[in-house]
Amino acid sequence: MTQTQTHDEATPLAEAPPRSKRIAIVASKGTLDGAYPPMILASTAVSLGWEAGIYFTFYGLDILHAERFEKLKVASLANPAGPIQLPNLLGAIPGATAAATKVMRKWMRDARMPSIPEFIDMTQDLGVRFFACATTMGVMGVEESDLIPGADIAGAAAFLDYAADADVSLFV
């Protein structure tokens, strides 16, 4: 790169407007219960006047998957704090995951909490930035057309570039 950038002398740095705070979140879980925390934190952050970005990686990419994001599930196996508390031997039987998922959906509905698709709409409307992990897409065979519109396909460098200017960074 041969161009050099110079500061415009008419706008000295001292008068630059204060930068918004920023949160950078990695969403790595593709379960219904795992999808709520990043959505709650991002919607809250923008409500506080912050910038917010979420990097959806590995199973977390399902939260952006146009066909799967309405069907996220709660594990009944190896989830001792889950909505239905079963020994692992019983948690493995067919229908147990569906039952746990049904209970959590009812909890959320009864508490008037938004669904995950509703949270996606709320956060996108407020300008939360979505990054879809390019490596996850390649490894798991997910195409751009499989994702909801508005996500930036990006790798770790792009997310770290965003997160380098964050005041809060979380891996959930």
């Binding site: 918004s20 709650i40 919607s43 809250t44 409500s47 506080l48 006047g49 912050w50 008037r112």
Partner: protein
């Protein structure tokens, strides 16, 4: 959302009823309502989420709005928030 315009205190105040809602909805809805106000106008926010006693002051601090008053009685919290200067 219940909107009620009052001029009791000579300050334009709108009311937002968030009873029965849990985090993040009271803060989310309050921020949307504050976004529609002019600096110096006020929002009266009513909640039942016990977390709101911590959340609403934190929101006001982060947004640089002013928490004018807090009243907590019988499981209901009433906050009056004055919108701060535009960022």
């Amino acid at each position: 959302m219940t909107t009620q315009h009052t001029t009791d205190t000579e300050v334009e105040t709108i009311e937002l009823d968030c009873t029965g809602l849990l985090c993040p909805l009271p803060v989310y809805k309050a921020a949307l309502a504050l976004g529609r106000l002019q600096p110096g106008e006020r929002l009266r926010l009513i909640t039942t989420d016990p977390g709101a006693l911590q959340d609403v002051p934190a929101m006001a601090r982060q947004r640089r709005d002013t928490l004018v008053s807090v009243d907590s009685t019988a499981g209901h919290q009433t906050f009056v928030i004055e919108k701060g200067p535009e960022q």
